[in-house]
Amino acid sequence: MLVLVLDSSTPAVTAALAEITADAVVPRVERSRVDARAHGELLAPQVAEVLAEVGIRPAALAAVVAGVGPGPFTGLRVGLVTAASMGQVLGIPTYAVGSLDALGHAATRPGPDAAPEAGPVLVATDARRREVYWAVYDPAGGRLVGPAVDVPAVVAERAREQGVRVAVGEGARRYADVLGLPLRGGLDHPPAYALAELAAERIRAGAPGDRLTPLYLRRPDAVAATGRKPVLR
């Protein structure tokens, strides 16, 4: 079964196709570009490109897998609404995968471009405003803490409590000095194959699809009007 994989939770915007077989997830083609301000422009052409490269029409897709964040809201919504609208037209299920979970999975499981870790792993992506989205995973890929959004100093403290030995993600790279953890390279953004692997069991089982609700973790910025204010001073 060929599935479309989308993630727009970080400055990287990713579209990929993966083949889900009875016992494996085979990456077919991936387009990933880093531009935090252009998710809306980049994603749809990338989807068209991966379909064209494999030579299939959209109707041949069996499911859509989408990274639901956490991530900066505006870009994150681009991936989710693309997945939801395509799923609706094609009448195929959409599956939600935590974007930090995908990074945690990639860091703790042997994959095409990663070897497993021995101890807990911190995953941190950039949440802007000098904060990171983060979670901690055990060596089997199970989530121990998170996802949450905090300033790097708080994350450093919590990671120490969990006995974290290594960090991945572009948030961890950006605040490496505060976190004080060795960085594992090559895992800045959620890899498409990891998203597909985390949804593979549900896809094979034909499980009902998910509503693609973003992991916002923050309330909208809005100041409530405090009753009537004099317009004049």
Partner: protein, 348 residues
């Protein structure tokens, strides 16, 4: 199909998630989900709240529109979407959705201008638009006078507000009078029980010296301040505020300026058709005054029914249908949402 294209339209530029379906000039469906109630306690639209609501509403609203029209996406000739102007994050949800629908259904997508769509929606009510026409578009987000030489390709802005949008002034005055948000409907209601001549509120940019530079522009900030000053003076004096009279006099000041400048624009450009659009065009006094003054000037007013004046998907579909019929090329898949899209851009 060229004459009667079946087009689906998506609108998410502010707080309404709209999906409309149009065949030629015939409205088949107009599904709408509004987040207006979520903004009420803030006294204005909160962009992030609107964007979140669009994401939740888009798929169910699309489904309702398709069901109502009795069509599937495989049947449509094109998908049109508001690409600007509007709230950046809100626009982006609609544009990305339109691309997803277009990609999956293998249909062309047209990124269109929200204001041109406000003009195009009238074709669903009154058929093809006589060109040239003047359009007066007034809402919480816009107050514009446009010269429409060709709805598919040539729209020229003649004037716009230099400060607040007309609808914004309605919202602010409503809050001042203790009326709910959005302020347009309650002020319209209160005004019916009051006198439009009770209080002489200022008419912005109508003095001869302003007319030289701002003949077709609007200003509602001074009016809003004058209303506030008047109400606060009353309150300081311990006197009751005659809400119906304030509402009627304020509304009259807004409608007087809007309609006199619109008629002036028609006369100046030798145009015989005036189209009204935008949420404020649902105001009963604006409609009546425009009719009255246009009739005296030998100008025909075309005003869509109130539900089509406010933001909706049908207006986007109507413009899309017009563009397809006119042979305009579709947009590329990398079309951006442009919060500041120029009014001269009908489609991208």
């Amino acid at each position: 199909m060229a004459d009667e294209p079946l087009v689906l339209g998506i609108e998410t530029s502010c707080d309404e998630t709209g999906v409309g379906v149009v065949r030629g000039h015939t409205l088949l469906a107009d599904a709408l989900a509004s987040s207006v109630a979520e903004h009420a306690r803030f006294g204005g639209v909160v962009p992030e709240v609107a964007s979140r609501a669009h994401l939740e509403a888009i798929v169910p609203t699309m489904q309702r529109a398709l069901d109502e029209a009795g069509v599937t996406l495989a049947d449509v000739d094109a998908i049109a979407v508001t690409a600007g102007p509007g709230l950046a994050g809100a626009l982006l949800v609609g544009v990305a959705a339109a691309k997803g629908y277009a990609l999956a259904a293998e249909k062309p997508v047209y990124g269109v201008n929200h204001l041109a769509a406000h003009v195009a929606v009238d074709t669903l009510e009154h058929g093809p638009l006589p060109e040239p026409a003047i359009a007066l578009l007034v809402s919480g987000g816009h107050s514009s006078l446009l010269l429409v030489d060709d709805l598919a390709t040539s729209v020229t802005p003649l004037g716009a507000t230099i400060d607040d949008a007309a609808g914004e002034a309605f919202d602010k005055v409503a809050r001042l009078l203790g009326l709910p948000f959005p302020g347009g409907p309650p002020i319209d209601r209160e005004a019916r029980g009051g006198s439009p001549d009770a209080i002489a509120f200022p008419r912005g940019l109508t003095a001869p010296r302003d007319m030289a530079e701002h003949r077709f522009d609007f200003s509602f900030s001074g009016l809003k301040t004058a209303v506030a000053r008047w109400v606060e003076a009353r309150e300081r004096a311990g006197e009751p505020v005659p809400v119906p009279d304030v509402a009627a006099s304020f509304q009259e000041a807004v409608c007087d300026v809007l309609t006199s400048k619109a008629i002036d624009a028609c006369r100046t450009h030798g145009v015989e058709t005036l189209v009204l659009g935008g949420g404020v065009a649902a105001n009963s006094r604006l409609r009546a005054l425009a009719e009255e003054r246009a009739a005296r000037a030998g100008i025909r007013v075309r005003t869509p029914r109130p539900k089509l004046c406010t933001d909706n998907g049908a207006m986007v579909a109507a413009l899309g249908s017009h563009l397809v019929a006119a042979g305009v090329a579709p947009s590329r898949l990398d079309l951006p949402a442009d919060s500041a899209m120029p009014l001269t851009t009908v489609s991208v």
